[in-house]
Amino acid sequence: MSWGPTALNLSFLTLVGWALFLGVLTGRAELFVVAIPPVVALALARRQGPTPALTVTHEVSEERLIEDEHVTVTVTLRADVAVPLVELLEPLPARVTVVEGSHHAFFTLRAGETVRWRFTLRCAGRQRLRLGGPHVRQWGPLGLAAGEARYRASHAVAVYPQFSALRHPPRPGRTQTSVGNYVSPAQGEGIEPGDIRPFAPGDQVRHVNWRATLRLGPLHVTQHHRERNADVVLLLDTLSEVGPAGATVVDAAARAAADLAAAYLARKDRVGLIEYGGQLRWVRPGSGRAQLQRVLDTLVDASVVFTYVTRDVDLVPPRILPPQALVLALSPLLDPRFVRAVTDLAARGFDLVVVAVSPVAAARAAVGGGRVADAAARLWAVERRGPIDELRRRGLTIVEWDGVEPLDAALATLRRPRQRRVLA
């Protein structure tokens, strides 16, 4: 802890100087007497005892949160010797507000006394919240000297994007070999009835279709379609960003990705994630709640990293981007590199759906209202129609979403055509 004089010393010094100057000038003894208490205060402020030993414990109530949830920070302070005045300040990261208590507090401690300080924070945006521990300032007598130290704590609270249930996620065109919720064209064990065929040795009695048997004579059995799962890969565009902090198109796309991941994982599908931006990061397709956790952890850190380097999706290994997977691209379609990448994927035969997150609403939120802004927003929305229609003509399936209304409403309008050949 480094001790030093505070600005209050200058005020005292000014007063002492004036009092002595006027005393000499006028020859009045009272003015010298006036200077004595401030001089004594200044002298006492420099007479410090041993620096009090403080023990600071820093705890957070949660390490994983959803957006807009609260986390309680508890700081425990213990002093071995008496501390006349100690100030604690926990620096708050962006998009974090105090909802209960205060992140700035003053305490006085007797020898051996323990003080518990608690405040609650609300985390407004998707982020990895790093609470580095409080700044501690000990005040000397009269506030004429202060010592400062930073107590380092390494708490990272993951604030996940808020996700809601989806009723209409795009249906995968191709299924995989594991059991799932989609009716496969292949025949086998399942509950969805398929064709009827004559009985063959090895068929189970419970598959005999008695109605068809009575009508046709020989024994007939009902075949069933298998229920299979699918691979879904979420392709998140982090090449460009529009909008105010916490409400950018990347934030909206991350929320949509969380919604989609939760919906597909609930249907026993395998879900993977590729962050396509300045850094190419991915999560290998998997299923289950642990996979949802992995996807959310990656989404928390998804951000725009500026780069001129174009990374091709060819760099992504097939185990991350399986050929039979449904690829859901979430993008504002602002960066031509991403447009080129999704066109390339569609041309290579991937089952692809692009969720085009409109940057217009985010940009409006950033610039505020006004007639000029309204006109510019309308013009921009019209200008975006052309490139999106051009991509549709080239065979891409595009769902337009404004990033504000529920994603499910936008996906409900999706009518997927049969697999078509895409002109790259």
């Binding site: 209050l8 003894a29 009272e30 010298f32 200077a35 004595i36 620096t51 205060s102 005040w139």
Partner: protein, 185 residues
Amino acid sequence: MLRLAAILALVVLVALPLSVWPAAPVTWLAGAALVVGSAGALALAVALTTVAAVLALLAYTVALLTARPAAEPASAMVFGAALVLLLAVVHLGAAVRGAVLEPVVIARQARAWLTIVALGLVAATAGVVGGAVLGPALAGMALPMVVIAAALGAALTMAGVSALMITRGAPPAPDDTRHASRGTP
């Protein structure tokens, strides 16, 4: 509460010059000190409060020069103590603005301030007694010598106080602070 305490100290500072000589120039200076000091106390601005304290000191000086009363160290000691308290209260108020502050903190701070002020008053009393003892010894000296001695004393005081300010405190012991952090499992 801190603002109220600061205004009380300010009222003492303004009232003392007026009690010595309630004439026009003193009233103007005291009024200016009251206005500026009130603004400083309400806004918890140490700089404004310092300006008000200097104005009050000027008013006190003008009152002493004009009225030429007999030496009265008691009121001067009160004036000095009020100066210290005013600045200390406003400085603490500015520091704690928006922070969690329990009443016990203010109570213990007030006790510490009063202790320091009491020590200041004891020192001032000792100075007055010393001056009273030393006064007859200097009775026969020429006037320039007295002025030079006073100026030299004032300069030495200022130099000493400045040195106190500039000199940094002793370096902390390497193990004077500890910390620990623990997350919820």
